[in-house]
């Protein structure tokens, strides 16, 4: 495995596996087709059914965090009817996430092939890529790929770029559906899942970029074996690495021994804090983690450096997440604001800790499943695990002590992935 540094960019791509065949440079259409072949024919029902069953057999699932089986999603969209829009979600709201950006900046054609394939499967009327308007690197790579596809006349369906405001929740699926159906990019309440795909309205189907890359592999004519791999964004003091990890890799193999950590934030700001010991020998593989009650979420693994205090970092994350509420739902507006204050009280330490803990125990359960999107749920989940994992740190803070040696913030609260 080689490691390449992208100039003026925080992401490093760990190259050597198939999703990123070129390293830090964008694979253009010629290079892409030389390596992956052309798209398999998707002309008649037999072609389509064959692809769909390959997706099913390969067990492709959503890589945006929900891990829903893609074949099931595509089938219910087919039932919902033709004429919809399929969207590739390239907007990573979380400042620590970088895998989709890495994918778009190196191998956009693979994602677009997956997007076109899902478009064909669901008889969509248009395709779209949802991207933050200030994700300039991603956008320029995407625009290059769009041009090459247009010149080669690959797409039969119109392909659009949707430039979304850069907010945490604007990359959330219901916000995208809302906006593509003509509304604003804010989460929308859907009483049932299938309705989210457009009952009455033209269906809108949102896929994570990595998911589409896997579907793109299955839709390529060079016979690629289904990949059992995951893209992981590894957050370290030296920056973010995006790695493609095969499913038999353990966390101990993933992390560098030079970064000893006792605690790991798994799945990002809406994920879970875990003790390093509990996952060191677990595989970086969603299905096997699910057995431990854990999830990779959108593939973020952040080992907390021992020089940093998990409680203070949690407090910073919660404060930032509270500021990212779309101001739609009362429990999110008031609940997260309160949560940020009480976690802040824990981090500040002293006498207020006990009262804050009591309130947290009482109120955290009240915040679950209360919003139109799962933004508050994620914050509550992350906070709950922080309270468990950092129990001894909380007692220290109560005595006005702290185990940290560094006062530098570790977790980013602004996205820096769109340099260049």
């Amino acid at each position: 495995m080689t490691l390449t540094l992208l100039p003026a960019n925080e992401i490093r791509y760990d190259v050597g596996n198939s999703l990123f065949p070129t390293g830090s440079r964008r694979f253009d259409l010629t290079e892409f087709e030389a390596r992956f072949g052309s798209s398999i024919p998707l002309e008649n029902n037999a072609d389509l059914e064959a692809l769909l069953s390959r997706i099913e057999q390969a067990g492709v699932h959503g890589r945006g965090g929900a891990h829903f089986p893609s074949a099931v999603k595509i089938r219910s969209a087919i039932l919902a009817g033709a004429g919809g829009t399929v969207i590739a979600n390239a907007a990573e709201g979380e400042p620590s996430a970088a895998k989709d950006a890495a994918l778009w900046q190196t191998n956009p054609h693979l994602v677009l092939r997956g997007l076109a394939a899902v478009g064909a499967l669901t008889q969509a009327k248009s395709l779209g890529v949802w991207v933050h308007e200030d994700s300039y690197s991603t956008r320029s790579s995407m625009a290059g790929a769009f041009k090459e596809r247009a010149a080669a006349e690959i797409d039969r369906l119109p392909l659009r770029a949707y430039l979304a405001p850069h907010r945490y929740v604007s990359g959330e699926a219901s916000a995208i559906i809302n906006a593509v159906q003509g509304g604003s990019a804010v989460p929308k309440f859907f009483p049932t899942k299938s309705r989210a795909w457009g009952e009455g309205n033209a269906p809108v189907l949102v896929f994570n970029s990595e998911t589409l890359a896997h579907i793109g592999l299955l839709a390529s004519s060079l016979n690629w074996a289904p990949l059992e791999s995951t893209l992981v964004t590894l957050l370290t003091l030296n920056g973010r690495y995006v790695r493609e990890v095969s499913s038999d890799t353990t966390f101990a193999e993933l992390l560098e021994p030079s970064d000893p950590a006792e605690h790991v934030l798994l799945g990002g700001y809406g994920g879970q804090w875990v003790n390093w010991q509990d996952i060191a020998h677990s595989r970086v593989h969603e299905a096997s983690l699910a057995g431990q009650g854990l999830s990779l979420g959108a593939g973020i693994v952040a080992p907390l450096p021992n020089s940093h205090c998990g409680l203070i970092e949690t407090s910073r994350i919660v404060e930032w997440m509270a500021s990212q509420s779309a101001q739609q739902c009362g429990p999110c507006i008031f609940g997260l604001q309160w949560l940020a204050e009480d976690i802040q009280a824990l981090a500040a330490g002293g006498r207020k800790v006990i009262g804050a803990l009591d309130r947290l125990n009482d109120r955290l359960p009240q915040l679950m499943k209360r919003g139109a999107c799962s933004h508050p749920d994620g914050v509550v989940r992350m906070t709950n695990t922080a309270l468990e994992v950092f129990a001894s740190e909380i007692s220290l803070h109560r005595k006005n002590k702290c185990s940290a040696s560094s006062t530098q913030p570790f977790f980013p609260t602004e996205s820096e992935i769109h340099a260049v």
Partner: protein, 233 residues
């Protein structure tokens, strides 16, 4: 949280508070009536005491209303939001009921020349025409605010009920003016009126100073429309 217990505690607290309010008002009326003890001024005394009680109820309803509708109201945990709302509704209903007592007793009263017409129709009273008209208008205003609020879900009042609720501060001012100008006890109660009035005024300024959730929502939504670029075909 034991939810069943929470419900019953809440119900007990709100009903106790409402009961207290009701009892206070009845005692106020009864005391004044007993003090009068002369049969020929009974109706007049009843009219005056119910008027004062109605004003106090209306004041409490307005204060609670402002405390319920303040943009940060949902963040306050010193009193359950629903308890505040129940109290607001309770005070408002009592204010209207006691105003009806006030209105009927003064329509029947022989001591001043108001009569049914004066008590129900603006500018029809021979006694203190303008101040009585304030009272009459304020009564109709209160009724309107209450009826529209209870029909707030209907197609007709869905938009207007909240506006009428906001305008209701005007009815509060009218009612206060009515009380101060007609009450023969205004001299004694002058500072009470002033303090209570200024209090509501300050509360209202405080309440309307900050944008509501709805306004925040609109602002957020306004700048979250995506730009769509057709890049290939």
């Amino acid at each position: 949280m034991n939810t069943d217990q929470a419900v019953s505690t809440r119900a007990v607290v709100s009903s106790l508070l409402l009961g207290l309010v009701f009892a206070t008002s009845v005692i106020l009326v009864a005391l004044s009536v007993a003090q009068a003890s002369q049969a020929d001024t009974f109706v007049w005394i009843l009219g005056r005491s119910s008027g004062i009680t109605a004003l106090i109820m209306l004041w409490a309803a307005s204060v609670l209303g402002l405390l319920v509708s303040h943009p940060n109201s949902h963040g306050w945990t010193w009193m359950q939001f629903v308890t505040r709302l129940r109290l607001h509704i309770g005070f408002s209903v009592f204010a209207i009921l006691i105003t009806i007592v006030h209105l009927v007793s003064l329509a029947l009263d022989q001591f001043v020349d108001v009569g049914w017409a004066g008590a129900l129709i603006p500018m029809a009273s021979n006694w203190e025409r303008i101040p009585v008209t304030f009272g009459v208008l304020s009564f109709y205003g209160m009724l309107l605010v209450a009826v529209t609020a209870s029909l707030a879900n209907s197609a007709i009042f869905r938009r207007s009920w909240l506006w009428l609720h906001r305008i209701s501060l005007l009815f509060f001012v009218m009612a206060f003016g009515h009380g101060m100008l007609t009450g023969s006890d205004t001299d004694a109660l002058f500072f009470g009126y002033v303090i209570a009035g200024v209090f509501v005024f300050i509360l209202a300024i405080w309440r309307y100073r900050k944008p509501s959730i709805r306004r925040k929502r609109k602002e957020y939504v306004r700048d979250t429309k995506p730009r769509i670029i057709e890049e290939s075909r």
